[in-house]
């Protein structure tokens, strides 16, 4: 018999609010990585030139893809950091169980993905602004973007980041379960690359997995795929953590 009855959702909300405040450092790294990404992007993504006797041309390409790559690394590593002991122990300040701790982590990582997605769009616009100031060059925007495309693109960016947080969370939990995974996981990744090269003379496994998402042209299917994959990764993480000892 308790005086107050606390529902799971209440605890999750409390923990989520706490995490929004205490994990602010995650946004420092977001900011720094975005600045690094913009600096890298300023060098251009590619280009070319050529000409004949009467004509010469020179072109440079720019895009926000490099910034996005940095953001994906950020999402992945941030999720790993959330699973480390110091961060998990923060949750013992609450009357809570493991499930609420995981749920609030997932909520927080989702929230971080949203912030990441929105700041990514703004950062790539800043990059565009920097390019606009390049003198004596004609500027081409590859395609005028419609509102629908903008909304789809933003959602897709957020979903990509969320997928990477899910992967990072899974990797982090595996490492918490057994430190041997620190060696096993990179070994598996690079081993699969090398094995592929030896067996099929090109490395395709990691690329093939990526293609499931990148090649999807239907937005709804893409959303479904990402959400399913993320849910699977989070579910496995929760399952793994159940076999962890308390305060381990």
């Amino acid at each position: 018999m308790y005086l107050t009855k606390v529902s799971l959702w209440d605890v999750v909300k409390k923990q989520f609010r706490f995490k929004m405040k205490s994990y602010r450092g995650m946004f420092t790294s977001l900011m720094m990585l975005q600045i690094i990404g913009i600096l890298f992007s300023l060098g251009g993504e590619g280009g070319g030139g050529g000409g004949s006797e009467t004509f010469s041309y020179d072109m440079n390409y720019y895009s926000g893809n490099i910034i996005l790559a940095f953001m994906m690394i950020w999402a992945f590593i941030s999720a790993i950091v959330v699973t480390t002991q110091a961060y998990r122990f923060d949750d013992y300040a609450f009357v809570a169980n493991r499930l609420s701790s995981h749920l609030s982590n997932i909520l927080f990582l989702g929230w971080a993905s949203v912030i990441g997605g929105v700041t990514f769009v703004l950062a790539s616009q800043s990059l565009k602004l920097a390019i606009l100031f390049q003198k004596d060059r004609e500027f081409i925007e590859s395609q005028p973007i419609t509102m629908l495309q903008m909304a789809e693109g933003l959602t897709a960016t957020i979903l990509y980041l969320f997928l990477f947080t899910a992967l990072g969370y899974l990797v982090g939990m595996l490492v918490q379960r057994n430190k041997a995974f620190i060696i096993i996981l990179p070994a598996l990744l690079f081993g699969s690359l090398f094995l592929n090269v030896f067996l099929a003379s090109e490395s395709t496994l990691v690329i093939d997995i990526g293609q499931i998402f990148v090649r999807e042209t239907s937005f709804l299917l893409f959303m479904l795929k990402v959400l399913l994959a993320s849910a699977l990764a989070y579910a496995i993480s929760v399952w793994i953590s159940n076999s962890l000892e308390v305060r381990k």
Binding site: Q125, I140, E141
Partner: protein
């Protein structure tokens, strides 16, 4: 040099994640209310830059139409066929030719000497019965494009003048196109139809330039120029 760059990059990465996980540094670096302010400042800068990027008037924008892959293939086919069509004197039937400029000069003698001061332009001469006492000169060109953008209009016509019985053709000024292209990041193009069509890019294709000269049937033509009949 690249190793120094890599090291710099690794240090930056360590700092950015070190500030998040306090394992690298003893105390939490830039945490607390300080970081909230810094991040809010960063957000404001990003917002202002984002809004500005929509408002800054884009001068010198390459105003051109994008061609689809199909149109490019069609143009390639036309460009390939065109030489034989023009050579056989059926220039009126040729598809895909852009008429750039026409000139006509009075011709007193029964002699025309053509002098071309450059290269890269093909000169054809047709003798026409119906023409009397004048020379018609027309400049045609086929499609040029770079990166799926039609740049046919960028190529100016040569300067042409007739002194005595010598037709002098001066090549046009050198055309120099410098451009930067901003591509949207891939999640923004992933779901649009044919979204990747501009990413492939067809490089550059410079069209052929033709000078087509019609002279009266009894004129004797010398110099640069291929008489088709």
């Amino acid at each position: 040099m690249s190793i120094i760059f890599l090291l710099f990059f690794i240090i930056l990465l360590m700092v950015s994640f070190g500030s998040f996980s306090n394992r690298f540094f003893g105390a939490r670096f830039m945490s607390g209310s300080g970081i909230t302010k810094v991040f809010a400042g960063y957000l404001i800068i990003l917002l202002v830059a984002g809004i500005l990027s929509f408002m800054v008037p884009v001068e010198d924008t390459l105003e051109a139409e994008y061609l689809t892959d199909k149109e490019i293939e069609e143009n390639d086919r036309l460009n390939n066929d065109i030489y034989s069509v023009v050579e056989s004197g059926r220039i009126e039937e040729a598809e895909g030719l852009t008429k750039k400029e026409t000139w006509d000069f009075p011709l007193k003698d029964k002699l025309l000497d053509i002098k071309f001061m450059g290269q890269n332009v093909m000169i054809f001469v047709e003798k026409v019965e119906s023409l009397d006492g004048k020379v018609d000169v027309t400049h045609y060109s086929t499609y040029s494009y770079m990166d799926n953008i039609d740049i046919t209009d960028r190529f100016k016509s040569p300067e042409i003048e007739l002194s005595e019985s010598t037709l002098k053709i001066y090549p046009p000024d050198h055309v120099n196109i410098k451009h930067v292209k901003y591509k949207n990041a891939f999640p923004f193009t992933q779901f649009s139809e044919g979204g990747e069509q501009f990413n492939g890019g067809y490089g550059m294709m410079q069209g052929m330039e033709f000078i087509y000269i019609t002279v009266p049937a009894d004129t004797e033509v010398t110099g640069d120029g291929y008489v088709i009949n």
